[in-house]
């Protein structure tokens, strides 16, 4: 573009100012990316939840259990393809702050219901043969440096009997970047064997995989109807609804994040707008000369907008790039407190969009001023 040297020469005119404005954009967009990533993480459960899976819990309280013998009755309901069950183990590995979720699983059906959590076949068969075996998610394994073959003790007070020990027979990976890779699985049989007689035969919750997502409403109703008025009434909903209501209990986090984001946006607009205004003001006589030579008012507006857009995009890309590099580190700092932080493509795209909008907006007012400026008056200012 033939005017590129003029525009870029003006851009780098005052190096410090250019760097500071660039820096402001970078910082604002870094923050934007960070907030978006955190917001995503809070809402993660409902995003990855399968549309074709149902979660069945005890209606009275999520803490209460459901009898194992309901299993066959649920399987007979048309539309139910597979069913598996889980219990929340809630043990402690070394100390409380090393928290990660531990689930008792039903090995026969686990992989059918959760196909996105992938275990290599050889590791899975080893696990099946080992009563004390365990499969652990990649993220937790990395966190503690565990390897296949390690023997891991987990303390529990709920289920009686001190520390339980497990052999790590395999490590699972999630198919998508957002899948949860922190879980620790071990066998139902082992669990049943070791817990007191009074509480045997009870599962924490069931997860059902449907023939088709369209059956969700019908099947959920059917299941709950089946066990209405029984000693353990059920509450069945889709996995995403279940996750969403969990997140909603976090209520105002969304609102907080949106508010902060807005504050940042407007502050950025103000700062860069002001910088552009000062920069244009300083150049009034030059712009006047350009107009005298024959550059139209609109071209002058174009120059100003081009400048602010270029700074915005450069700064924005820089900030987003930094965020991309920093997010894994931030995720580590929040280890265990939040699901893993992922900087998705859509966040990057909206970040660029924000940068663009601010770039145009901050250049608009000074640009229009420059466009409207009368050459005669400007030159007289000398």
């Amino acid at each position: 573009m033939r005017f590129l040297s003029l525009i870029s020469a003006n851009l780098f005119r005052k190096k410090i100012r250019f760097l500071l404005t660039l820096g402001s954009f970078a910082v604002a967009l870094f923050l934007f990316a960070f907030l978006a990533v955190v917001k995503d993480a809070f809402g993660r459960g409902s995003d990855v939840a399968g549309a074709d899976r149902l979660v069945i819990i005890n209606r009275v309280s999520i803490i209460n259990t459901i009898p194992l013998k309901y299993r066959d009755q649920i399987l007979r309901i048309p539309g139910v393809k597979y069913i598996t069950h889980n219990n929340w183990f809630g043990g402690i590995y070394q100390e409380e702050k090393n928290f990660f979720p531990q689930f008792v699983i039903d090995p026969e059906n686990q992989r059918q219901v959760f196909p996105e959590l992938i275990v290599p076949d050889d590791q899975w068969s080893a696990f099946l043969k080992d009563r004390q075996g365990a499969i652990v998610g990649a993220r937790t394994a990395t966190r503690f440096g565990w390897r296949i073959g390690d023997r891991i003790p987990i303390k529990t007070t709920i289920w009686g009997g001190g520390a339980w020990e497990f052999n790590i027979d395999g490590i699972y990976h999630g198919k998508r970047q957002e899948d949860d890779e922190t879980q620790f699985w071990f066998q139902w049989d082992q669990f049943e064997e070791r817990i007191p007689a009074g509480i045997k035969g009870q599962v924490g919750w069931y997860v059902v995989k449907l023939e088709s997502p369209d059956d969700a409403v019908r099947v959920a109703k059917a299941i709950d109807q089946q066990f209405a008025n029984s000693p353990s009434e059920t509450k069945t909903e889709t996995e995403s609804a279940f996750a969403a209501s969990w997140v909603k209990q976090f209520g105002n986090i969304q609102f907080l994040i949106v508010t902060i984001g807005t504050v940042v946006f407007f502050t950025l607009l103000l700062v860069t707008g002001n910088t552009m205004a000062i920069s244009v003001r300083e150049r009034t006589p030059e712009l006047a000369v350009l107009k005298a030579i024959g550059y139209s008012d609109r071209m002058v507006l174009f120059f100003v907008l081009a400048e602010s857009l270029i700074i915005a995009l450069m700064g924005g890309l820089f900030g987003l790039g930094l965020a991309y590099l920093a997010v894994p580190a931030l995720g580590a700092a929040l280890n265990g407190l939040l699901p893993n932080l992922v900087l998705s493509l859509s966040i990057l795209a909206s970040g660029l969009g924000v940068a663009l909008v601010v770039g145009v907006a901050s250049g608009l007012l000074p640009g229009i001023g420059a466009m409207r400026m009368s050459v005669v008056n400007a030159l007289r200012r000398v």
Partner: protein, 389 residues
């Protein structure tokens, strides 16, 4: 000799648009900083308020929380006879409790939240003396009646005085509303422990925790020694205050870390904004500065003068930021406490100490943002600055 302050004040007024920009940048950052910290404070305060120094909590040994506990009736009987416990006309001040997590719909979204329902002994108000029934009355032992915390009744649907609700396969009547002094209990629903056990299909004579009122805070050690050395028992004894302090760590840590990261990033941005403003100020006033120096004002005087301006701007910004978030004080919000799996309402807590921290933060940003330009202003060769058109 120092450059008169009035020069700074007038200069700021003359270039008020730029000054306003810097002010707003700093105000925004300080506001976010104070808001996030007060959120963490509020959460912690709620939980800490739940414990009083005159009470102790007895749990099964090794239980990290009430949720995981298990204490038999026999154990309770032993505790009732232990030394160091207060007694009054109703008997030993001991309440054996059961906690359940029951879904109730949130008034705000209509979806369910897990609410902590606590089964207590009928003399609980003598033990948790800061809890007062402010509407209606306490529940009758043996009946399906509820007393509801004041936050709970405004957060969850259906928990109003006189209302009957269903859960656990039974009907319950809300007979009273209590005020628990801003503690976690304000988000809870209380009822008779025995009835709750039945409804939750738990073994009849097993409780999850026992809270005792000490005859005086000093008798704690005596009680602890007596109970832990008793071979019939397998328990831990903690001061109530310490227990609740521990319960809040996860969420407090999360909010503090997130808030800290956000505030740091915003601070960097605000400093950039302040630097930009001040550098532009120095550029625009090049001739003025040179004139002053030619007149005899030294380097230190010039640096100091600009620094004062920066501090002026940042002080105004900081105060504005604090003022802007003041209305949040006392505003309740809700979050899930992972350690108890239940929903908890708590309030932003803005203390004078926090506000002062906010203003200091602003001043620091002002110094960082004002120093480099000030030094530049003072070190430019006078002659070239004067020659500038």
């Amino acid at each position: 000799m120092a450059i008169p302050l009035i020069y700074n004040v007038r200069s700021v007024k003359a270039r008020w648009t730029s000054a306003i920009v810097a002010v707003i940048g700093i105000a925004g950052t300080v506001g976010v900083f104070v808001a996030m910290l007060s959120l963490a404070r509020g959460f912690r305060a709620t939980l800490v308020a739940s414990g009083s120094p005159g009470n102790a909590l007895v749990l099964r040994a090794g239980s990290p929380s009430e949720m995981m506990g298990g204490v038999t009736l026999d154990t309770v009987k032993v505790i009732q006879d232990a030394p160091g416990i207060a007694r009054d006309s109703s008997g030993p001040l001991v309440t054996q409790e059961v906690v359940g997590v029951v879904p109730f719909p949130l008034i705000s979204t209509g979806t369910d939240a897990n609410v902590q329902v606590r089964g207590v002994s009928s003399n609980v108000l003598h033990i948790r003396t800061f809890v007062k029934v402010v509407q209606g009355r306490m529940f009758e032992p043996g009946l399906s009646e509820l007393v509801v915390g004041k936050n709970a009744s405004t957060t969850y649907a259906g928990l109003t005085l006189g209302n009957t609700i269903n859960f656990g396969g039974g009907k319950w009547k809300v007979v009273g509303i209590f005020d628990a002094g801003g503690s976690a209990f304000d988000s809870e629903v209380w009822c008779d422990a025995r009835i709750l056990n039945q409804v939750l299909k738990r073994p009849e004579n097993i409780f999850q925790s026992v809270t005792v009122h000490l005859s005086s805070p000093d008798t704690f050690q005596q009680l602890k020694d007596a109970l832990t050395s008793d071979p019939r028992l397998n328990v831990d004894v903690t001061r109530e205050v310490d227990y609740y302090a521990k319960q809040s760590t996860t969420l407090t840590r999360l909010i503090t870390i997130l808030g800290g990261i956000v505030a740091s990033i915003m601070a960097i941005g605000a400093v950039f904004g302040a630097l930009n403003t001040m550098y532009s100020a120095v550029a625009e006033r090049g001739r003025e500065i040179a004139t002053m120096r030619a007149l005899g004002f030294g380097t230190v005087a010039v640096v100091f003068s600009f620094l004062v301006e920066a501090l002026l701007i940042s002080f105004v910004g900081g105060s504005l930021g604090c003022a802007a978030v003041m209305p949040l004080n006392g505003l309740t919000t809700g979050a899930m406490n992972w350690q108890t799996f239940s929903h908890l309402a708590f309030a932003f807590k803005i203390t004078p100490e926090l506000l002062i921290k906010g203003v200091i933060f602003a001043l620091v940003m002002g110094i960082v943002g004002g120093l480099p330009p000030a030094i530049r202003a003072a070190s430019r060769p006078v002659a070239s600055a004067l020659r500038e058109l």
